[in-house]
Homo-oligomer: 225 residues x 2
Amino acid sequence: MTAPKAYIFDVFGTLTDWRTSVTREVAAVLPQMDAEDFATRWRSEYQPAMERIRTGKRGYVPLDEIHSENLSTVMKSLKVKALDKEQHDDLARAWERLDTWPDVLPALDQLKKRAIIAPCSNGSIALMTHLARHAGLPWDCILGADIAQDYKPRPAVYLASCAALRLPPEDVMMVAAHNDDLEAAQKLGLQTAFIPRHTEHGPNQKIDLRPTGDWTNCVASLLEL
Amino acid sequence: MTAPKAYIFDVFGTLTDWRTSVTREVAAVLPQMDAEDFATRWRSEYQPAMERIRTGKRGYVPLDEIHSENLSTVMKSLKVKALDKEQHDDLARAWERLDTWPDVLPALDQLKKRAIIAPCSNGSIALMTHLARHAGLPWDCILGADIAQDYKPRPAVYLASCAALRLPPEDVMMVAAHNDDLEAAQKLGLQTAFIPRHTEHGPNQKIDLRPTGDWTNCVASLLEL
């Protein structure tokens, strides 16, 4: 294996603690709710909504719209009175205001000195741009779902990201806390790095605590990359 | 007019002095040539090559490939012996190593504090990424030809750039040293800023010395924005 010329990153979970951040935002707007339960339900609508697009049942829409629709779905299922439009839209954008795990910013600063760094997320260019400005993520460019008009783990997303950099997959390393993300990337020839995030799904997390594949790297902190 | 939520920039000419930079690279590799004449001829192949794509005579290919093909064209027309592949590819990438005009970096640092900043160039994501790393351009994301799979001044490029940011055109300001670029953007509802670059085409430049349209802003330095 040669040194990667680019590192591309999963963002929700791998770089950011979405559960804590979204819980905080829900608590501020809906103080009557169990905010952590609400955040978990909101996130649980994420994969089914993307799956409709991955399977062609719906054309591509950016994740911003899915987050907004799923917020409405959760509100209705919990029989919460709808927020006014401005409040709804602002809460839907909680995903632009996530906190990063402590190793992320120092590691990205170091990695950027020797290679291109970019998100390869299901978040849109707009969402990733706002999140980068919020969290200080020093991306060289923004790759991922929007440029492929499809959602991970569909091959088009990884391949479009490599193609945008004009790099063969073997020169690109996908970094993720999710084994299924790495499995899809590895099948296409990308290098892979796994980092467990033991509390992404809360204190009783059962999945992605350890690598389940033969990844190029397995690290406890992004600083080890 | 409200304050723009994003500033998007033409890059070749507006932010970078391509003529001086490319001349320097040509001189290093082809010392027997008139390097400035060579650079000018190379650049003069740029619009006709893109025009074939704009008019649908050829499918979209990234500008990196056009630069490489046009380099071969100029070499042949001047009857210069072809470079070996590595040297050719490296010279073709001279466009990733351009110098910026002196006002660019301080102005982008300031603008980034109050709005999103991104290139809206005919350069590819790869080309813009390498150039940003070379020149220290602090982009929030990279927009332009690649995400539209078409070339300015075709409407798709400006519209795809606004759409990627999820902003209506009126919230986005296109900044360019070329009146035709601004004319295309203005027709689509974007705000516009003109900055003359009096020596982009050399000491005897005749075009784009002054604004020819009713642009939102006309500035002598990007720091005035």
